[in-house]
């Protein structure tokens, strides 16, 4: 079975380390916050200028001046700090954020990522995604392995305009966890009940399959 959105978030949450500063993109990455394992403390960075994003507010505590990068009303947790957009991207660009998790349309064996525009469709903008992929060392791209029509999104060369070049080394899909090494995807783990053959069939870019490919556990 392919992973659900929740399982993908849960898998990423298990990669968090105590004391990590983490930026979570919109969509599945946002769900990661719901699965932070007990005993682990992480500080969420929201690129509009908030380090230490907390839960959504109670109705009576809603504050128009307190939002996250998805423009949702949020709170600040204990230990939070708030700063300007220039400062926010200084810490991103400067490599101070320990882990960035973001969605993608396509990734390729060179570590390129496409996540912001589809030619011919309305382009709304890249927001902070280009800065995040250029600035972070440790990025997990979270995406579906193939389109609904079965076309692979793990390619030898991205077909869509890039968000960043050569910056992705870790990819979690609904079928597998892969790392990118020396111009190939390396299959590191597979979703429960998903066969290596299915992953091979749905990966268009070069793929190395080790002798043992462990199944993910939830």
């Amino acid at each position: 079975m392919a992973l659900s959105r929740e399982q993908m978030a849960q898998w990423v949450a298990n990669e968090l380390k105590d004391g990590d500063y983490v930026n979570l993109g919109i969509g599945i990455p946002t769900l990661v916050a719901n699965y932070v394992p007990p005993g682990i403390d992480v500080m969420l960075q929201s690129e509009n200028g908030l380090l230490g994003m907390g839960a959504f507010p109670l109705e009576q505590d809603i504050d128009a001046d307190m939002i996250n990068a998805g423009k949702q009303t949020v709170t600040a947790r204990a230990g939070a700090s708030i700063f300007s957009s220039a400062e926010s991207f200084a810490m991103i660009r400067g490599g101070h954020v320990d882990l960035t998790v973001l969605g993608a349309f396509e990734v390729d064996v060179e570590g390129n990522i496409a996540s912001w525009m589809i030619p011919g469709k309305l382009v709304k903008g890249m927001g902070g995604a280009m800065d995040l992929v250029a600035g972070a060392d440790n990025i997990i791209a979270v995406m579906t392995h193939a389109s609904k029509g079965g076309e692979s999104k793990l390619l030898s060369r991205c077909s869509l305009p890039l968000t960043g070049a050569g910056c992705i080394r870790r990819v979690l899909t609904d079928l597998a966890y892969l790392e990118i090494e020396d111009g190939a995807f390396v299959l590191k783990a597979r979703a429960p009940g998903v066969s290596v053959e299915e992953i091979v069939a749905k990966t268009a870019g070069a793929l190395r399959v080790p002798d043992e490919v462990p199944e993910m556990r939830f």
Binding site: D65, I82, A86
Partner: protein, 234 residues
Amino acid sequence: MKGFDKRVESYADALAGLSDGMTVLAGGFGLCGIPENLIEQIRVMGVKGLTVVSNNCGVDDFGLGVLLKDRQIRKMVASYVGENAEFERQLMSGELEVELTPQGTLAEKMRAGGAGIPAFFTATGYGTPVGEGKEVREFNGRPHILEHAITGDFAIVKGWKADRYGNVIYRHTAQNFNPCVAAAGRITVVEVEKIVEPGELEPSQIHTPGIYVDRLIVGSFEKRIEKRTVRTAA
């Protein structure tokens, strides 16, 4: 003696001198921390052909979106421009020029502009459509692109509290681009919720020092919320 007293009497005074074809930098992220009354004053003035630099362009009936209806904006420099039907229409029809800029690069362009740095190299955007046609240089084995600073004829800013000297404090995440914008305007206009007596603001807590501020006005704000998300008590 006016001295360092930056206060002006009216919104008309606040934006006096703004004219067709100028570049206006605007603070805010989404609808949070936007100078809503100064934007409304630009609408009332009817100036046209503006280049507007702001992270977003408001929604159809609020924020910078209200300047689209009478085609007051010629060119928009922003990182994300969704949530606005009229914007999309003008973009598709070619009436509006848009320069999409990565959010951190946009903030840094204005920070640099205010700090007298004409351009800077960044890895952001290299190998993407943003990097096309820009000078590339390698630093520490990594390619970077040259990005130019941005300054504006006017900067419009939303603060929380200020004193008459133009020292400004922002509230929560309504800070966002406002300090970057404030420093990069030839004429910087700040509207705030409250003007307090000199000495009330702790000098070490000032976000935007008064040296950047030319005009200051107190307004009242709708503070519209774009995405209202709540939790229920456990």
